[in-house]
């Protein structure tokens, strides 16, 4: 079975792209002197994989990276050694043996914070709640596979849970979304709000990934 890391991505590290993040980990393992499994082939390189890529700009407290320790380092010492070798904003919390296969990764919990410069408009919270309570909510989504470059997705079946909460200048969405096959990016939920509730369109949005869950809504580890 493979090894996994649980790490968070915050601050400046939010802007590191998926590919760059994998490179960053490969190098961090080397810096930390932790040897890990290499790929086969003519140009072997350290193998790492991040099952659920995070969009650039999102923060997260529950990122998972898969790799294989090849001896030399105990799991317990991996987080501290890696943290000493990381760019700012990436913190490794735990190193553990993988329990559940990637295909069981079913839901992702996001906190979406929508900010309004003049304060949250009156009725916005209600409108968003109504929108997410519809039977069906079809949006265009960019797709590389489709000939036209867009496909239509119904968001509702992909939203397992949605809580809308208004604070002073913000509206926070606590969303549990399908993780994969197909998954739903919370940006599409915000896009739906902009389209269907223009009065509730935020001035700025931040996205935070809070938890990755299995089919029973238990933490996926």
């Amino acid at each position: 079975m493979a090894d996994r890391l649980l790490f968070s991505k915050a601050g400046t590290a939010r802007y590191i792209s998926h590919l760059d993040l994998m490179r960053t980990f490969q190098r961090a393992f080397a810096r930390a002197g932790i040897s890990i499994k290499h790929t086969e082939g003519f140009h072997p390189h350290p193998f790492v994989s991040i099952p659920l890529p995070l969009s650039v700009g999102f923060s997260s407290q529950c990122e998972v990276l898969e790799f294989g320790l090849t001896g030399g380092a105990e799991r317990e010492e991996v987080p501290a050694r890696l943290n000493a070798a990381m760019p700012s904003g990436i913190t490794v919390h735990r190193c553990y043996e993988a329990e559940k296969p990637v295909k069981q990764l079913t839901y992702v919990n996001y906190i979406v914070t929508m900010e309004y410069d003049p304060g949250a408009p009156f009725g916005a919270e209600r409108a968003i709640r109504d929108l997410l309570a519809r039977e069906s909510l079809v949006m265009d989504k960019r797709s590389k596979k489709a000939k036209s470059g867009v496909v239509q997705v119904d968001l509702i079946p992909l939203i397992a849970k949605a809580t809308v909460e208004e604070r002073r200048d913000t509206i926070a969405l606590d969303l549990v979304l399908r993780a994969q096959n197909p998954g739903l990016n919370p940006e599409l939920v915000v896009a739906a709000i902009r389209t269907h509730c223009p009065q509730a369109a935020p001035d700025f949005v931040s996205f935070h990934r809070r938890a990755v869950l299995d089919g029973k809504m238990e933490p996926w580890e």
Partner: protein, 614 residues
Amino acid sequence: MNRALEQILPRVQKPARYTGGEYNAVVKDRHQADLRYALCFPDTYEIGMSNLGLRILYGVMNGMEGVWCERVFAPWTDMEEEMRRAGISLYGLESGDPISGFDIIGFSLGYEMAYTNVLNMLDLAGLPLRSADRPGLAPLVVAGGACAYNPEPLAPFVDLFVLGEGEEVTPEYIALYRQAREECWSKEEFLREAARIEGIYVPAFYEPVYKPDGTLAELRVKEGSGAPERVRKRIVEDFEHSYFPVRTIVPSTEIVHDRVMLELFRGCIRGCRFCQAGYVYRPVRSRSPERLARYGKDACRDSGYQEMTLSSLSSTDYPGLLPLCDQLLDYCAPRDIGLSLPSLRADTFSMNLMDRLQRVRKGGLTFAPEAGTQRLRDAINKNLTEADLLQSVRTAFSGGWSGVKLYFMLGLPTETDEDVLGIADLARKVYAAWREVTPNRARGVRITVSTSWFVPKPHTAFQWEGQITREEYQRRVDLLRDAFKKDRSITYNWHDPDTSWLEAVFSRGDRRLADVLEYAWERGAKMDAWSEHFDFPRWLDALAACGVDGDFYAHRQRPRDEVFPWCRIDTMVTPDFLWREREKCYASQVTPDCRSKCSGCGANRLLKGGVCDG
């Protein structure tokens, strides 16, 4: 992180370039730092972070007590637009603080086409462009790098130029700046004192006086300024013990040279007559293989890079190359770390070495014969024979390489049509060599020939030469293109003439070009090294509006006694030597390399013992 920045980053491409926070980025306590330095590179993050000189200065300065040196790059146009709209001024990547509040702003100048970015960055920082419009001591605007060897086109914008290698002179002018601040000197007072430091050129103290024909009568030293007649470049004499960035920033996003760069030596023994770097970085100074091996391993260990490159002007000339490579390979091979040599000479020694290096991609191999015939190669002192080249490609092709790139220049002094067509001949011989030795003919071969339009550079043997005219360049391109018509395995590319012409204008330009720069910048010129932003008509318009004739700088043949705009800059390679080299070119005579025989260029005077180690 600053909120305004946070709001614009989601809208720009590759935002990781604008955040800092990389591994080994130096973050100091604002209150402990009494001197804030903005180290600016007038191009993108990816290019700037690939520059070893920048990393060296960053390390040297941050090693100084109380100095906090931060990096600043030119934002790409989408980011610039967002910054201007949000009212964010240019900031240091480490602190996010606006650089307008820093003490010193230093630019590294690598090529002329980045000049407009210098102006744009000053403007983005909210600073007046011209030195005269910045009356205060801070921020002081400094510039160094290869282009500083002809500082005149940027003279009105920059407070002082640093000539040569910056490791030692930078702490010197920083110390002087601190004293000036302590004792409340005016900027003028500071500059006067700074001009006494060897290697510092204060343009305000030199005044160009022109003749009616537009050439320089003199670059007059301002009376009472105390500025020296000649500003001698600085070198690090003890290169063995000089700072090397073992611990250096590892970008979190991919850059152009994303690997450990090991600097074996400074300078070059070869003396190619067209090459500015070859002359201005003299004399050669090397590090010992033992030290380099240690640095290389430590740098790999600290960075986690999986690739290392040996970077110097002509790395295969390094005397300890074999023992060094052996030591490095012992470390790299078991760890799957690739080792590469960027500047290969076409000789058997190098090819054998290539074979031993691990993980070199057997795709394309690059050689730069520069000229098509032996006669012309002798004339430019490019020490490379056809036999060597063909032997090398034979070795490569029989070892399974399937492509080779050949670089040439058109318009070199004394070039004839025979030399131009010689390029085609040489490429065909390379093709024939492939057919002869390849183990796999079915796979085919890619031979790419690229020609650029020769740009004469200051401080070289060709500083007096006119660049051939555009029509003539085009005619030679056409000649070569016709010659290649039937060769289906040879691809021929030639450089865009507009950029090369402008480069020729600026590289030997004088202070009158500053107005042209400013005019073009005001009308949107920036990122001129990027073809998508380069707008040639805009430059023609700027030249015309300022009454400046570009051809005067690009194409004019200068007499021996011409007063050059860079006449106050002393590389310690004497003009007499350069002229001798020029004459030897016209006689197609070669000059031996520094290791075989000293030719008395004068650069030895930079060393205490007065003897180059060759």
